[in-house]
Symmetry: C2
Subunit: 232 residues, 2 copies
Amino acid sequence: MPNSRHSRYDCNECTFRTLSCRHIAPEEFELIRRTSQQLLFKKGETILKQGAKASNLVYLHKGIVKFNFENEAGKSVILTIVTGPILLGGANLFFKEINLFSLIALEECEACLIDSKAMKKSLMNNGKYAIMMFEESTEMFKSAIFNFISLAHKQVHGRIADIILYLADQVYKSHKFTISFTKKEISEFAACSHENVITTLSKMNREGIISFEGKVLEIKDYDKLLEISKHG
Amino acid sequence: MPNSRHSRYDCNECTFRTLSCRHIAPEEFELIRRTSQQLLFKKGETILKQGAKASNLVYLHKGIVKFNFENEAGKSVILTIVTGPILLGGANLFFKEINLFSLIALEECEACLIDSKAMKKSLMNNGKYAIMMFEESTEMFKSAIFNFISLAHKQVHGRIADIILYLADQVYKSHKFTISFTKKEISEFAACSHENVITTLSKMNREGIISFEGKVLEIKDYDKLLEISKHG
DNA sequence: ACGCAAACATGAAAAATTGTAGGTTCGGAT
DNA sequence: ATCCGAACCTACAATTTTTCATGTTTGCGT
């Protein structure tokens, strides 16, 4: 269960508020704020559940989240992985009332759940605000589409190279980072077996392209990874 | 070159106009209309070009269009295939100024190119209109995401079954249809080799699940296809 | 009508990927 | 402290998929 702790983020300093107040009056934001709820999610906890009614948007202040789709057989795919601060769940808002996929915390996450209805009301009254929110909430598609494309015409080592580059450049923003998820999750992101992930990473390790001890991954030869990504 | 023929669609009867005028005044729509251009695209012609400036939205009155992404090596993936009437290119509008992928006519298409700037202006002035347009233009994502998921955890025969079902249910709306594209294009949609498409379709043909003569595909055993899709 | 290029088709070999089976390590629950 | 399950790792067999080689058919431009 998400833990409703003492506020860590002061609503008056929140970046979401700052963004919003570029387009709507503070009094109007207050209406949105009042329907919102600040929560702390532990690693592994579900923030939005696939199949549930999409009654909330999520402003992720801090943390890392995976977009997880699970099929009838219980197999998962990770559509993409993102870090805060970012607005999530907008896709569900515009698509339909049902969440198409789950949002799951990969690390401890600070997030605000925002009532969709309250938000929609403000969007209707302010086109500029609507456009901005839409731009914010479609960010995730870009990375999902690039993963899609990587999947579509690269083989496993190319896809894994892409994932490492993506994590380094977009998520952890460093060439050395502690991954906050399992090999199985990497396999769900790369859409292959977890054995294949292990084999591929071990090979890259042996060849000195990366070093991967425990949970710490370091890119040793960025250019080589780029090359694998290109020809993979 | 697209052929600028004598108007087939009377702007006063256009479904896009009807939709728009639920939220904006006819005079305001007139501003959008004046910047628009009605065109006829022949099979194979590019409506929006990947990499070009995203200066237009496209309202597709009639026809079938593929979302095509081409990588540096010249290999293509088809993200999804859609039929008119539908609003296209919205993704590009909100993403960035550059088209992320091409839209290519698979059949003769009647379409209006709408100036992005004129449209954005109206969206800013009217939140409800903006929300409606977002909803319209994100439709394509749903099918692209489902194709993504199919790709991610099914093997080729499952993916091909999915594609046949998708074409029958969403595109041609019939269990018997004349496909307007090649086996190679199916392979770009299914993300596999074209030989694999041929082998798989031949097998389904032999087993009586479908019949596929020339360009005419007929689903003989819908339930069997569903089953292949499920376990695929 | 002819020729050429693209699309279609098929089989066999090669490569990539998954599944299976073995065992080790790690961390949380009792 | 110990037990148990999950994650990790490796090798090998089984399967899927691609690649290659070859030949036929189709459709379009001249």
